[in-house]
């Protein structure tokens, strides 16, 4: 279960510190003056409508994108100032679970999970095998190591991708919509795995999700992003009870509210009125 609000507030120096973050794509401002602190050991969820910039934040934290202004610090190091080599070193300490798992389709399940181990360690083959098998067993998929990714169901593929992401026991986990498109049992499995792994390894996790009902069950703290800004933040229950119009609209799935339904490109006139 998630830890309490007070635990969140009392945590030491944040592992991830984002200040005055601005990110643009062409004329469009995706994120505008965003400030976020993520304490060690917590699971923080980013929620918001599609296209609000949730995945962009993950990409900025992992160094795939560079901000137009502002800073992102992970463990005291500025991600945006890192060279390619420094980024590679930095990413060894980060596990990422992408939305579709992104398993390597030409490798077996075993080889998929073993890839980061072989790449970043000099462990003998017997230890690599033991490590991979223990991770597979931890996600409840012992015995499928010789299968190819196309032989797995969506939920199984996601769990294999999870095992691959945590195989080197990273300090920070980034999840991009880990529960999208899964059946309720698979959703519960992934949710439990996220929480248990986070607590057992003392990780810090960031989860991008739309799943309001699940967030209450695994996240310590939530940020709601809309219109390029953080429109709400707090523990999940507090957000559910919030009367702030943007937060209330998103948490309760209301069509009417300050978060617009129609997408308006910058400078574009209403086509229907032309």
């Amino acid at each position: 279960m998630p830890s309490s609000d007070s635990q969140f507030a009392q945590s030491d120096t944040p592992v991830i510190k984002i200040r005055d973050l601005v990110f643009r794509r062409g004329d469009r401002t995706i994120l505008d003056g965003v400030n976020i602190d993520i304490p060690r050991g917590s699971i923080v969820a980013f929620m918001g409508p599609s296209g609000a910039g949730k995945t962009t934040i993950l990409r900025l934290i992992s160094g795939q994108l560079r901000p137009d202004a502002g800073t992102i610090e992970v463990n005291g190091h500025r991600v945006s100032a890192m060279s390619r080599r420094e980024l590679h070193r930095f990413r060894r300490n980060i596990g990422v679970l992408l939305q579709d798992g992104a398993l390597f389709t030409d490798l077996t399940v075993f080889e998929n999970i073993a890839t980061p181990v072989r790449e970043h360690t000099d462990l003998p083959e017997s230890l690599v095998r033991r490590l991979v098998m223990s991770k597979l067993s931890a996600v409840g998929l012992g015995g499928i190591e010789e299968r190819m990714p196309h032989e797995l169901s969506g939920g199984m593929a996601r769990r294999v991708a999870f095992a691959r992401a945590v195989v080197l026991d990273p300090d920070i986990m980034l999840y991009d919509e880990p529960m999208t498109g899964l059946d309720p049992i698979a959703v519960s499995t992934i949710r439990t795995l996220m929480r248990e792994t986070n607590d057992a390894l003392g990780q810090t996790s960031i989860v991008v999700t739309h799943n309001v009902s699940q967030v209450r069950r695994f996240a310590d703290y939530c940020y709601i992003i809309a219109s390029a800004k953080i429109v709400g933040e707090g523990p999940p229950q507090q957000l559910t009870d919030s009367t702030e119009p943007s937060v209330d609209q998103f948490m309760n799935g209301k069509v009417e509210g300050p978060i617009p339904f129609h997408y308006q490109p910058p400078g574009a006139a209403w086509g229907l009125l032309d």
Partner: protein, 256 residues
């Protein structure tokens, strides 16, 4: 104004692309380590893109040899020189047809498959996942395929020429009844190892590098959509074929 900018854009795009392709090549070459894992990956790709292209190369080579002999005998007969057929077939094969046709076939068979494979890996976020695991996809995916192409094309060209000579033997000696002794002696004395065979191998090496570089670069830079991968695959075949013929002319002018 906008039209002028887009016209300049159209003119500068190929130059920009060429520059990016060159930088991509340098990025690949910077990662050459000659380590066990890298050599293993190259050998695996030599099997996948080289050895698996053998059948098509051998069949095409055999029939090219036969049709070349047929045309040569028809033309040479008019001058009473049909016994020179092996000389003509040998020289044209080792110098031109072997390297060029092998490279064109390789572009169609392996080049497209490399582009489509890498493009699909990009579309399904596998390259992104690799980057996030601190594994450089250029070193891990592109480099072994590029090196395998450079190694495979000369070997395939050798195989193509050998099969074409076999086709020529079958047609000229077996069907047309030319003297086998004259056929082989003309081939042996008229075709030079250094000038004809090695010259052709140099060409193959350059063609192999060109096709493989274009294939991996277009795959890596493909738009991550079905249409994007399709366009990249087509571009690989078109640009490879054009560049093979241009480079063939340039190299022939220097090698002869």
């Amino acid at each position: 104004m906008n039209e002028r900018i887009s016209r300049i854009d159209r003119l500068t795009t190929p130059i920009t692309e060429a520059g990016q392709c060159l930088l991509f090549l340098l990025r690949m070459l910077a990662g050459v380590r000659f380590g066990g894992q890298q050599i293993l990956a190259v050998l695996q790709q030599v099997y996948l893109i080289g050895a698996r292209s053998l059948v098509i190369i051998m069949i095409c080579g055999f029939f090219v040899g036969m049709v070349l002999s047929l045309q040569a005998i028809n033309a040479l007969e008019q001058f009473g020189a049909s016994d020179q057929v092996s000389l003509l077939v040998g020289k044209s094969l080792f110098r031109e047809l072997g390297p060029v046709l092998t490279a064109l076939l390789f572009a169609g068979r392996a080049g497209t498959s490399i582009t489509a494979e890498i493009g699909l890996m990009k579309a399904t976020n596998q390259l992104e996942a690799m980057e996030l695991m601190a594994i450089d996809p250029v070193q891990r995916i592109a480099l072994p395929r590029f090196v395998a192409g450079v190694v495979s094309v000369p070997l395939l060209a050798g195989m193509f020429s050998a099969m074409a000579i076999m086709g020529s033997v079958v047609f000229a000696i077996g069907v047309m009844g030319l003297d086998a002794g004259i056929f082989w002696s003309k081939l042996q004395t008229g075709v030079y190892f250094q000038k004809d065979f090695v010259g052709g191998m140099w060409k193959s090496l350059v063609f192999g590098g060109t096709v493989s570089l274009i294939a991996v670069y277009f795959g890596y830079s493909a738009k991550p959509t079905g249409a994007g991968v399709g366009t990249a695959t087509t571009n690989t075949v078109v640009l490879s074929s054009v560049l093979i013929l241009i480079f063939d002319f340039i190299m022939t002018s220097f090698l002869t």
